[in-house]
Amino acid sequence: MDNTVEKQENIRKGWDGISRFFRANSIWMLMYCTGCCAIELPQAMTSRYDMERLGMGPMATPRQADVLLITGYLSLKTLRRIIYAYEQMSTPKYLVAFGPCTLNGGIYYDSHAVINRLDQYLPIDVYIAGCMPKPEAVMNGFNDLIGMIKRKEANGWKKYEQNKDWYRKNQIQALGELRIKDEFHE
């Protein structure tokens, strides 16, 4: 009896390892180019640094993407849309934040329109330093993310699901209401 449980556990672990291997080597990213940090992504994507050698490529829709890149400051208006995009993504999903704007507000720390700490509203797996981060830093950040996925450390999405109430409370506190209400959604 014990033997079968152990066997099943081993099989599960094996599959888990295989799926993590494939996940880590085939990452589709959704870019939400909110701030100026986005300007370093073209270099990282194209021939000079060529992120495709890491198995990363751009994806058009949230539902098909694995990683969401938040490139810089977020105004309340974009935060609301980012939350839509993040919640549409299927698990496992990862979130990479660029620059000090996502960390503590950066140079927009006193702005009425820009949030200070993104980790209050969404779980972040990797921060990339630099204002704006150089392409080397961007590539390094992606390498870190890949390593974290392999080592089972990129658990932001689990954290989000477990602490959804806390995140929701913060989101509502900043946004008032989550629903988008503009001309296009009337």
């Binding site: 208006k77 503590n104 507000g105 009425h112 949030i115 008032g176 503009d182 001309e183």
Partner: protein, 171 residues
């Protein structure tokens, strides 16, 4: 100041009462009018080739208790940029819409209403939100709005426990 601007200003002077003038650049003129004249001035300059309302801007002169509305119009034939300016009362900021002359002003008026709280009578759209969603304070571009206090109140700041200075290093 180039020839076109000279002629234009002389022409406008002969028709309307000018309260002030300024020439920030060679191809630019800034003319101040009484607020009751603004609509006729705009209608007139539009008929003179200023087909484009580039933007409607607003300046908060808090010490004078006034808002200044700046209509920047552009002439594609001569390349002249004309600022038509007027001042309105700040404590009860109201103006009449210019959407009948420049329909595109619909969005600019919405913008000014959102950021300065100026009401544009005759433009029902100007009350809708444009950039700010669910705004819960005074219009944010007024000079007496404290952006830092608002940010601190609304968005949590990150506390840093570690001391990264040299003194901290030694400990």
């Amino acid at each position: 100041m180039n020839k076109d601007i000279k002629n234009l200003v002389a022409d406008i002077k002969s028709r309307f009462e000018l309260v002030g003038e300024d020439y920030p650049k060679d191809d630019q003129a800034a003319l101040d009018f009484n607020s009751r004249d603004i609509h006729s001035v705009l209608a007139y300059v539009k008929s003179q080739g200023f087909r484009q309302l580039s933007i409607l801007s607003c300046v908060d002169w808090i010490k004078d208790n006034q808002f200044q509305l700046v209509y920047i119009v552009f002439n594609w034939e001569t390349g002249i940029r004309l600022q038509v300016r007027t001042r309105i009362d700040r404590s009860n900021p109201k103006f009449t819409t210019v959407t009948s002359i420049y329909p595109g002003a619909k969005y600019y008026e919405r913008d000014v209403h959102e950021f300065f709280g100026v009401e544009f009578e005759g433009n029902p759209d100007s009350y809708k939100q444009l950039f700010l969603e669910n705004w819960d304070d005074m219009p944010p571009l007024r000079k007496d709005f404290d952006s830092k206090a608002y940010s601190d109140r609304k968005y949590p700041v990150r506390e840093y426990a570690a001391d990264f200075s040299k003194a901290g290093d030694k400990k």
